[in-house]
Amino acid sequence: MDALFLNQLFNGASLASLYLLAALGLALSFGLMRVINMAHGEMLMLGGYLAWMTLLVVPGALGILLAIPVAFIGAAAMGGFIQSTLIRHLSARPLDTLLATWGVSLILQQGARDLFGAIGVEVRAPEWLTGSFVAFGVTLPSARLFIIAIAALVLGGLALLLLKTRIGLLVRAVNQDRMMASASGIDVKRVDFTIFCLGSGVAGLAGVMLALLGPVTPNVGQSYIIPAFLVVVMGGLGSIIGTTASAIILGLFAALAQIFVDVSVAQMLLLVFVILFIQVRPQGVVAVKTRQLDA
């Protein structure tokens, strides 16, 4: 195998990690509430700006590690605010939620443009993340390795949370049958809220990772969020395994396609791939069983 192929394979893995971090929150709340938050991309942006601000306050090698919880909490708070003031009141109307949250997204982007400027800000990665390793004749930048590791950690943490804790049990119950869960005394609105905050927090964390790769601009989220939407479409309703699998497939596809065509054609091919995929498996990579008539 040649170096270009291996190199793109590695890029695909780091792209898949970013898609995954961006899509996890979307997929979780989509599974619960059947709504998509179009302002989710701005949680990435928020995370990026929070990382930048944290590094202003705490420069040095470990600032970036502090930025991760800061961005997580900041984005989670913003997500919680959007959920409780807007999305909760629209939960029976998924398409309207889409439009209303797009409005939020426009306002947040313009707000960032006014606060931080349109050009964006640069986060200086600490020295231990600027180097690179060489393996199998391929240069592996540490920042990208770091991103892959963080994505794996988040995924593992989320899996533990969903499978081993009480809140995870409640989430799975609501995901399977919202009415029955509610009837058996689960406070479904609180579950919605918690998962929404969690998902937004993960997106904020993804924003820190984006900040390591390039400047944080007001529309930095936009370039990752539309592929993340496609990950959700392909993943299957609210399934973590499905979302992970489809993030990996799409990340690798996008990176490997770029061996043969340029970025813009790769983007078109990605869409064509998803449309072809739903011809074969319209229910997504992993189908969650449901008895609902109109899921």
Binding site: I36, W102, R113, I226, V233, L270, L271, P282
Partner: protein
């Protein structure tokens, strides 16, 4: 005879009042304002299609800009070629160092082909796309997300193919259409009358369509797709047909817009403009044809007024409009006129 009165909340006064204003406009407005109005009316044609698919079909498309663009670029290609001395290349191709015309440009030299392309290209693209998604019973939110990805991919593709599409700047500097000079006196108002006529024809045709059995089935599929299946209908062809019609209207609107504006570019058809198109209809009233036209006119007028003076303010305003209309006024202005907020 189906009851038409249920369909338009402002029956039948508003459509006639609008028509009267539309007929009076060329005598009252300056040629600059008339051109602006004609542009907005071309957008109104697209908005009518959104009432069909979104209001009555429950199909939210965040990619109408793609079909608008197909119509717009089709006519732009023709005008670029028509103004060209024989054997030469459009200016931007020369600048990007191209030696020959791409093969897919050549047929657009023919006016008949161009007219057919304006109508058929968006219609067929829309039908194919909608069929590919709907026949596997993927819809709702998924469909909206896929259409958004489509508009992103389309705009990116045009921008990156600078040498054959004009790239980010789009195509502009048109001088004549079908042998008529665009700058010559009378052309502006002639194009205005053509736009007004097409808008009226589209309005009447859609009104008829929405009152027909087709419209009833479309609404039934919107409210309970599986129930419609249990009754023995397959809703997919209806949804595909509705989407194709909306795409056709978007394409015609795009072509007319390009004629009036004198430019077509990715900035007019990408992700953000595509979703703005939905807000026109949301504000006017998604179930009302007349409301959609009013919405397209009002939002674009407001945009023109606000964004020239305060470009930053427009995005805040637009975001707030989205939130406000969707949460508090789901029937839009047409709902207020009818005395129902929700």
């Amino acid at each position: 005879m189906p009851d038409l009165s249920r369909l338009s909340p402002l029956k039948p006064v508003l459509p006639w009042a609008l028509l009267a204003l539309g007929v009076a406009a060329p005598f009252a407005l300056s040629s600059y304002d008339l051109n602006l109005l004609a542009r907005f009316m071309a957008m109104g044609i697209l908005a009518l299609g959104l009432v069909l698919i979104w209001g009555h079909g429950g199909i939210l498309s965040l990619g109408q800009g793609v079909f608008f663009g197909l119509g717009g670029y089709a006519i732009a290609l023709h005008m670029k070629l028509a103004d060209l001395p024989a054997g030469e290349l459009p200016d931007f191709m020369v600048w990007s160092g191209r030696e020959s015309l791409p093969f897919w440009w050549t047929p657009f030299a023919s006016p008949a082909f161009t007219l057919a392309a304006i109508i058929l290209l968006p219609t067929l693209a829309g039908a194919l796309f909608a069929w590919a998604v709907f026949h596997r019973r993927v819809g709702g939110t998924y469909f909206a997300l896929i259409t958004q990805a489509l508009s992103l991919a389309f705009a990116t593709l045009i921008i990156s193919r600078q040498d054959v599409t004009g790239g980010f700047n789009g195509l502009t500097d048109f001088y004549s259409i079908f042998g008529v000079g665009l700058a010559s006196p009378g052309t502006g108002s002639m194009l205005y009358w053509i736009t007004l006529t097409i808008l009226c024809v589209a309005f009447v045709a859609l009104r008829w369509l929405l009152a027909s059995r087709f419209g009833i089935l479309l609404r039934a599929a919107r409210d309970g797709e599986n129930r419609v299946r249990f009754l023995g209908y397959n809703p997919t062809p209806f949804k595909v047909a509705a989407f194709a019609i909306a795409a056709m209207l978007a394409g015609i609107g795009g072509a007319l817009f390009t004629l009036h504006a004198g430019v077509v570019s990715p900035a007019l058809i990408g992700v953000v403009p595509s979703i703005e198109m939905v807000v026109w209809v949301a504000i006017g009233g998604r179930y009302s044809l007349a409301g959609a036209i009013v919405g397209a006119l009002l939002v674009n007028l407001a945009r023109d007024a606000v964004s020239s003076a305060f470009p930053e303010l427009w995005l805040y305003l637009m975001g707030a409009l989205f939130i406000f209309v969707v949460t508090l006024l789901p029937r839009g202005l047409a709902g207020i006129a009818k005395g129902k907020a929700a």
